[in-house]
Symmetry: C2
Subunit: 335 residues, 2 copies
């Protein structure tokens, strides 16, 4: 099969055998994969991952490891999306780690992560995941919508961590792909959501989804540009410098959700968090069920965020395109 791996900070095409399936695992044929900033970070060295990247996908189950006839009829030939953290039980450990015992599979201390950590991902014709990670895609959800389930679930995680509906004034810092999804998800729970970003064309996309916007310059002057303060701020700029501005615009005793993962450090003064007694909440993977429900009900439509779709075979050109200014979601498609 065709797959892509990280080599010298680029994606390189390789021929690989099909993955072998453990009991309870599925072989998935890719339909659509999404390129995420984490994939770009992985090329830059994040997690030192050397396998096949790709963790946003919609695919079709085409084979199963040892399992019951009931599971077979449930999954074979069906369209699926999948959670990316592979935890103790699926890895064959009989004694679960402390986090799996608490039901926190996304924090499993032995976890592998699809396309990010010790498990080959979705930039390939075929890849494998445990059945326990999979979700059937509802019929009225298109492939182009379903491929957003993983990042949309990450956005929904904020709703699981913070009572967004109680916040009268919410800010999202960043106008990239994840920030846009976050603003749309928060908008389902709260009326007053403002997206702050540096790109007028991206802000225009957000306004179509009834999100307020404000243009930033991306320099120190932004601190004076934002006069308001917010009881809930989500930092999703993908840049280490976003935290300073985020602290500045969060009101005393307010909540600041950190959503950006990136490789590298920036000088940060943390005294505003102490003086204002802010609560900073790190937020990562989220509930797929909630994300699929938002897609099924059309309360969130992510498809305006799609910039371009490439054939899987052109993955290196696609990831280069994804890094161009103004480009939003880039997809990889198989026949």
């Amino acid at each position: 099969m065709l797959a892509f791996t990280v080599k010298n900070h680029r994606l390189a095409a390789v021929r690989k055998p099909l993955p072998r399936l453990r009991p309870g695992w599925a072989l998935i044929k890719l339909r659509l994969a999404g390129i995420c900033n984490t994939d770009v970070e992985i090329l830059r060295g994040y997690h030192n991952f050397r396998g096949t990247p790709g963790h946003e996908f919609v695919g079709e189950v085409i084979a199963l490891g040892k399992t019951s006839p009931r599971e077979k009829s449930r999954w074979l030939g069906r369209r699926v999306v999948g959670e990316i953290n592979i935890a103790c039980a699926a890895l064959g450990f009989r004694s679960l780690c402390a986090f799996c015992r608490r039901g926190l599979k996304t924090h499993c201390s032995r976890r592998k992560v699809l396309g990010i950590l010790h498990h080959d991902g979705a930039f390939a014709e075929y890849f494998s995941l445990p059945l326990e990670n999979l979700y059937l895609v509802p019929k009225n959800v298109t492939d182009e919508q379903a491929v957003f389930t993983e990042p949309l679930a990450a956005a929904c995680q904020i709703l699981a961590q913070v009572p967004a509906a109680r916040h009268h004034n919410i800010a999202v810092l960043g106008d990239g792909k994840l920030a846009q999804l976050i603003a749309r998800v928060l908008r389902t729970a709260a009326r007053n959501v403002t997206l702050f970003g540096k790109h007028e064309s991206k802000l225009a996309l957000a306004r179509l989804a009834k999100i307020k916007t404000q243009l930033l310059h991306g320099d120190a002057s932004d601190i004076h540009r934002i006069q308001e303060t917010f009881s809930l701020v989500v930092e999703a700029t993908g840049s280490p410098t976003g935290l300073s501005l985020a602290q500045h615009i969060t009101e005393p005793r307010g909540t600041l959700v950190l959503k950006s993962t990136f490789h590298g450090a920036a000088p940060v003064e943390t005294w505003p968090t102490v003086v204002k007694e802010l609560t900073l909440i790190g937020s990562r993977c989220g509930p797929f069920g909630k994300a699929l429900a938002l897609l099924r009900s059309h309360r969130v439509d992510p498809t305006p965020l799609i910039s371009r779709t490439f054939p899987l075979a052109e993955a290196p050109a696609a990831i280069a395109h994804a890094q161009k200014s103004g480009v939003m979601k880039v997809l990889l498609k198989t026949d």
Copy 2:
């Protein structure tokens, strides 16, 4: 009266008139003042404060602005300690700010802060505070104990923000004055508290209070030195580099309390907070009533932390002494 002000990054003695008293305010004669790291930061330029520093004190009320006979008999001649944030009502504003309306006087948007922000502090023979900020010192609490009320209250704030008793394994990073008080306060609520610091002599002080200790080297190797993880970590090193180590030793979904304020920034990688979904809580001033209760009941005795007491007139020498390696709390005393 004699007072000290900040001049060219040093304390300079000046002669000043007595402060004028608004209605509901008290004139306080200093008995003992404590030197805090914030005072040292103020000399370095923190908050750009140019008045009289000093916010840890025990004093005696010797005069009152316009008030009722009942208040006069309650306060005149009594030993007091005082909260340092002076809020809307005490400043004479009839219409309260949004934070005062919510009862969050420590976050009053117009606040002045004793010895830190727009209000002269306790490194002086006399200073003023609103009666609403004052607390009577119980008879069985000595001046040497009472002078710790303000930093002890700041330590108690953590108990108000985090259910410490539910945490089975608590770490305090830092072995300085505030870290030591924090560890003692947490120890009243939880059995398993470990203090991490660079100074064996300071760790020995903590062990006398039944706190576990571990010696750090203060370099990058410390990350490998601490094998355990903790569900609750308090960062109280007073150094911008403490946050990296603190994130490292906090377990997934754990809580990290930020207690250090300092002037300056350090490069910090924030991805561990996102990946582990940590909750970071900024923590500043705290409840004086709780701190006085701990002193009165002898559940916390801060006096072993006193390194040396200087006459008020020798404040410049005292603050120089306070910055020497190994020195803990330095006090200023009046006759």
